[in-house]
C-alpha cells in the first residue's frame, strides 16, 4: 500500500465523513430535542437532492435557485412531520419504539413516493466547480470535495454558534435539557421541538445536495444515508450534535481505510462491527461526554 494510496483514501474518508457528520448532526439535533430517532432522516437528503435535480433539469432554473428550493424542502417536511404526527403522539404519551415505527413508516412512504413520481433512475447533480481537480502529492482532489468540506465546516461552526450564542439556540437547548424548567421561564417547548425538526431537515437536505454530485441518488438511497448518520451520531455520543462531526469523520476514515486495506465488500460489516464494540465499551461515544443512559 503506497503512501499516495493511503492519502487518496484519507481524502475520500474526510469527504464522506463530512456528509456523515451533517446527517449525524441532524439526527442528533432531532434526538436531543424530541427523543425521536428519525429513521426517515435520509429521505430529507433524497427529497432535497431530487427537488434540486428536477428544478435544474425540467424547469431549467439557475443552479443556485434550484439549490435553494431543494434545501428548503428539508425544513418544510420536518415541520410538517412534527406538527401533524409527532406532536399528537407526544400528547398520547407514545413510547420510544412507537416513534421508531412512525419514522420507519414515513421512510417507507417517502421512498415509495420518490419511486412513484421519479422512477428507478439515479440522478447526479453538477459538481460545484465543475470537473476541475487539484493534484497534491499524487492525490487527486475534486474541487467539489473542497467545496463540500468548506460548506460542511461552515454549517458545523454556524450550528455551534447558533446553539451557544443566540437566544433561540439557547432556548432550544434549555427546552431539550429540562422541558418543565424551560416552560417556567416562558419558553414555548412545543415550538422549540418543531424547530429541532426544521433544523434537522435543513441539515439533511444540505447533506443530500452536497453528496449528489458524488454518488447518484435514487429512491433507495435514503435508508443507507440514515444508517451512516446514526452510526456517526452514536460514535459522537448522540445527544451532542458536534460529537457527530467527530463521529462522522471517524466513520469516513475507518471506511476508506477498510476499502483500501481489506476490501470494499467488507466496508459495512467492519464499520458496523466497530460501532457495536464502541457502543458496548464506550457508551458515551468516542468523546466520552454527554448523557446516554436508558436511551
Amino acid at each position: 500500500m503506497s503512501l499516495s494510496l493511503i492519502l487518496q483514501a484519507a481524502q475520500a474518508g474526510i469527504t464522506n465523513g463530512f456528509i456523515y457528520a451533517l446527517v449525524g448532526m441532524g439526527l442528533a439535533v432531532i434526538f436531543r430535542g424530541s427523543r425521536v430517532i428519525n429513521v426517515m432522516h435520509g429521505e430529507f437528503s433524497v427529497v432535497g437532492a431530487m427537488v434540486t435535480v428536477l428544478m435544474l433539469t425540467s424547469a431549467r432554473y439557475p443552479y443556485w435557485i434550484a439549490i435553494l428550493a431543494g434545501v428548503s424542502t428539508g425544513p418544510l417536511i420536518g415541520a410538517l412531520i412534527e406538527l401533524t404526527l409527532v406532536r399528537p403522539m407526544i400528547r398520547q404519551r407514545a413510547t420510544e419504539d412507537q416513534f421508531v415505527l412512525l419514522t420507519i413508516g414515513l421512510e417507507r412512504a417517502i421512498a415509495a413516493a420518490v419511486l412513484f413520481f421519479i422512477g428507478r433512475d439515479g440522478y447526479l447533480l453538477p459538481a460545484f466547480g465543475g470537473d476541475h481537480v487539484f493534484i497534491v502529492f499524487d492525490v487527486v482532489i475534486r474541487e467539489h470535495a473542497l467545496w463540500l468540506i468548506a460548506i460542511a465546516t461552515f454549517v458545523v461552526v454556524a450550528l455551534r454558534e447558533f446553539f451557544r450564542h443566540t437566544t433561540l439556540g439557547l432556548a432550544m437547548t434549555a427546552a431539550s435539557i429540562d422541558a418543565d424548567g424551560a416552560a417556567t421561564t416562558g419558553i414555548n417547548v412545543a415550538r422549540m421541538r418543531t424547530l429541532t425538526f426544521v433544523l434537522g431537515g435543513l441539515l439533511g437536505a444540505i447533506a443530500g445536495i452536497l453528496i449528489t454530485p458524488l454518488i447518484a441518488v435514487d429512491y433507495q438511497t435514503g435508508l443507507p444515508i440514515t444508517l451512516k448518520g446514526i452510526a456517526a451520531a452514536i460514535l459522537g455520543g448522540f445527544t451532542n450534535p458536534l460529537g457527530a462531526v467527530v463521529g462522522g469523520l471517524t466513520l469516513g476514515m475507518v471506511e476508506s481505510l477498510v476499502i483500501v486495506g481489506v476490501s470494499s465488500g467488507y466496508k459495512d460489516a467492519l464499520t458496523f462491527s466497530v460501532l457495536i464494540v464502541i457502543m458496548i465499551f464506550m457508551p458515551h461515544g468516542i468523546l466520552g461526554r454527554g448523557g446516554r443512559g436508558g436511551g
Binding site: 403522539m89 412507537q98 421508531v100 413508516g105 414515513l106 412512504a109 435508508l223 459495512d268 457502543m279 458496548i280
Partner: protein, 315 residues
C-alpha cells in the same frame, strides 16, 4: 366457555378448509403469513415481554435459509440437517453477540441489533462461496414427510401453519410460566427484578436466543418453500418488516403477531391492485396504525368487540 370452544372448533375447521376454498395465489400468501408469524413471534416476544426492539431478525432468518440451501444443494445432506444446523448457528451467534450487546438499553440496543442486521446482510452478500451472492442458490429440494411431497402451496400451508401454531403454543406457555413472570418483572422495573435475584442478562440472552431460533426456523421453511435463496431476501428492510409484524398486530398478544403477519403479506398485495401508488399507501397505512392504534390491530379488535358487547374478547 362452551361458546369459546365452539369458536375454536369453527376456527380449526375453517383453517383446514381454507386451502380448498382459496385461490392458489391466496394460499401462497397465507404460507408466507405462517412463515412471517414464526419469525415475528420471536421479535414480538423480545418487544412485548422484555421491551427489546430487535432490528436484526433477518440475519437469523438468512442463517436458517442458507443452512438449508447449502447443506441440501451443495453437500446433499438430508433436509432436516439444514433446520438443525441453522438453528444451532443462529443460537450460538445470538449467545455470543447477545451477551455483550444486551447490556445496552432502549434505542441503543435497537441500533445495535440494526448494526447486526447490516453486518449480516453484507456478509451474506460477500461470502458468495457460501450463499451464491446475488445469484443465490436455486434448486433447494421440497420438503417431504415420510415420502409425502409438500410440493404445492396447499400442502405446505398445513406444515407451515402447524409449526407456527406449535411455536405459538410453546411461546404462550413460556409467557405464562415463571420465566414469563420474571421477564415482565424485568421489563416493568429492572431494579426491582434485580433485587429479587433475577439474573437479567442471562434471561435476556436466553430470550434473544429463542427469538433467533424462531427466526432461523422461519428462514429454513422459507428456503424449502421457494426453493431459492438470494441476498435480496435478508436485507435490513426485511428486519424492519419483521419488527413491524408484532407492532402492527399488538406486541402483548400472540394472535396479534398473526394479524400483523397477515397485514404485511396480504395488505401490499391488495393495495397493489390499485396500481403503482400502493407502496406509498402501505407506508402511510403503517403510519396510520402507529399513530391511531397504539395497541395494534388486536387493540382495535378488542375495542370493536367491547362495542359489540363481547366483553369476553381478550386483547
Amino acid at each position: 366457555m362452551r361458546a369459546r370452544l365452539l369458536v375454536g372448533l369453527l376456527g380449526i375447521v375453517l383453517w383446514a378448509l381454507l386451502p380448498h376454498i382459496l385461490s392458489r395465489y391466496m394460499i401462497d400468501l397465507l404460507v408466507f403469513t405462517a412463515i412471517y408469524t414464526i419469525a415475528g413471534i420471536g421479535v414480538g416476544l423480545l418487544l412485548g415481554q422484555c421491551g427489546i426492539v430487535n432490528l436484526g431478525q433477518a440475519t437469523f432468518y438468512g442463517i436458517g435459509a442458507y443452512s438449508c440451501a447449502y447443506l441440501t444443494v451443495e453437500l446433499g445432506y438430508p433436509n432436516v440437517a439444514g433446520f438443525i444446523v441453522g438453528a444451532l448457528i443462529s443460537m450460538t451467534i445470538a449467545l455470543v453477540v447477545g451477551w455483550p450487546v444486551l447490556r445496552l438499553t432502549g434505542y441503543f440496543l435497537a441500533l445495535a441489533t440494526l448494526a447486526l442486521s447490516i453486518i449480516g446482510s453484507s456478509l451474506f452478500y460477500e461470502w458468495d462461496w457460501l450463499t451464491g451472492g446475488e445469484l443465490g442458490i436455486g434448486g433447494i429440494p421440497k420438503l417431504d414427510i415420510f415420502g409425502f411431497k409438500l410440493d404445492t402451496p396447499g400442502r405446505y400451508y398445513y406444515l407451515a401453519w402447524s409449526i407456527a401454531f406449535i411455536c405459538m403454543l410453546l411461546v404462550g406457555n413460556l409467557i405464562a410460566s415463571r420465566t414469563g413472570l420474571m421477564l415482565r418483572a424485568m421489563r416493568d422495573s429492572s431494579e426491582a427484578a434485580a433485587s429479587l435475584g433475577i439474573d437479567m442478562q442471562w434471561l435476556r440472552t436466553r430470550v434473544f436466543m429463542l427469538s433467533a431460533l424462531l427466526g432461523s426456523v422461519a428462514g429454513s421453511l422459507f428456503a424449502h418453500y421457494v426453493s431459492f435463496t438470494s441476498v435480496q431476501s435478508f436485507t435490513v428492510d426485511k428486519s424492519i418488516g419483521f419488527l413491524l409484524i408484532p407492532v402492527l398486530g399488538g406486541v402483548r398478544s400472540l394472535w396479534g403477531v398473526v394479524l400483523g403477519a397477515l397485514f404485511v403479506t396480504v395488505m401490499p398485495e391488495l393495495l397493489s391492485r390499485i396500481g403503482d401508488i400502493h407502496q406509498i399507501l402501505f407506508g402511510l397505512a403503517l403510519v396510520a396504525v402507529v399513530v391511531l392504534l397504539p395497541e395494534g390491530l388486536v387493540g382495535l379488535l378488542a375495542t370493536a368487540g367491547r362495542k359489540l358487547g363481547w366483553s369476553r374478547v381478550r386483547a
